[in-house]
Symmetry: C2
Subunit: 208 residues, 2 copies
DNA sequence: CGACCTTTTGAATGAGATCAAACCAAGTGG
DNA sequence: CCACTTGGTTTGATCTCATTCAAAAGGTCG
């Protein structure tokens, strides 16, 4: 039983840092509540968000295999979050079965695939297409966890967070979002996303 | 012994396709000789190169775990290549030991880390910085395999391949490379890269 | 209400894209 | 041996999407 291994519950406020880059994580974490993200910060203040984490996501699994592992990115809270920290020993035992190993490996591949799609987006697509994809990707993640249904869902990212995930500026994200709203495709306001025309949004996400 | 499991040797000419997107790979491959790359093609002819493969690299490991797996990218030969195809059953046996599992997992993480660095580059750095990083990344891969030493090494990518790996156009890559040569940092010509000023190149790669 | 964020809007600028032509080196074949 | 392809690189002129800098306009919360 997972619960038996739980060591401690940590909580953090929105925009607070959870783990710093370069740190050697001491535990393995699961996000219990709220949203978080992994990001790399450049010397000049720019940053790139690598991925978002939703309730149920596990991170710092690397700790289990690589004792000297140091995070090459920082982990931030996007909203108020609570997370559970498990000690490595217990977790290793828990994940020793072939089935668990299998699930970990598959999850790793899923993550890579998502990352690769984002790479294609940023490398080869313009702002609208990137936005459409981000919204649809997040929606399908939420739906897979039963955290969304219908045509609207929680979207706690600020314009700046979106920008840093997509390799854009917050101003340009704002402008593009205004345009998408005015064409009746997508509306994002007050922490929520509303898909106004799914067919068109899908189309933009694949060809634009 | 690995050799005992080998099933067949395949070879392909430069720029030929090795595996198509959407295919269900039947084997697991190791690149024996030459360079290859993974790429995604968009409807309008643009493409994004996801990663390069060098002699010794293994691919389609996913086949082992996911029987219904279909490639979300295409595999191309960059130079003349030869590769070895192993059947899934034998490979599964070969990689069943905990140590082998461990190595596979670590390799998967290494790949993801490389991908994430590229994401930061394309999302947040300008052309010179991306180029510097690509060259240094490839150099260190080559050195790790004993395929390079000193300040110059094989670099079989055309301007267009570099562009598609870095989210640029071949013209812009050409211009940037000319500029780097004229400032005495880096020279790439006739299938070889020459690091003229490593200190400056490192600097460009980290801050630019 | 005022202080503080975040979002929107505007105008000017810029990095890189696009389109097109010239250039170059290595074949090929007459 | 020279004309002619062919595939790739370089160069130039122009255009555009996105950035930058700056200021106004909303929201939110003490």
């Amino acid at each position: 039983m997972v619960r038996a291994r739980r060591r401690s519950v940590i909580s953090a406020k929105a925009h607070q840092i959870i783990l710093r880059k370069g740190e050697a994580p001491t535990h393995i974490y699961t996000l219990h509540d709220g949203w978080a993200y992994r990001a790399v910060h450049l010397d000049d203040g720019r940053r790139q968000i690598l991925s978002f984490a939703l309730p149920g996501d596990v991170f710092c699994l690397e700790t289990m295999r690589l004792p000297e592992y140091r995070l090459p990115y920082a982990m931030h809270a996007l909203t108020q979050v609570t997370l559970c920290a498990f000690d490595v020993g217990g977790m290793r035992e828990l994940l020793s079965s072939p089935e668990a190993q299998f699930r970990v490996a598959v999850e790793c591949q899923r993550q890579s695939a998502l990352l690769e799609r984002r790479l294609v987006d940023i490398g080869r697509r313009r702002a609208v297409g990137r936005l459409a994809r981000l919204v649809l990707d997040l929606e399908s993640l939420l739906k897979a966890r039963g955290l969304a249904s219908g045509e609207d869902f929680d979207f706690p990212l600020r314009r700046e967070d979106v920008a840093d995930a997509l390799g854009l500026t917050s101003e340009h994200v704002s402008r593009t979002l205004v345009a998408m709203k005015s064409t009746g495709v997508l509306d994002v306001h007050q922490g929520r996303a509303y898909i106004l025309d799914r067919e068109q949004l899908d189309h933009i996400a694949t060809v634009e």
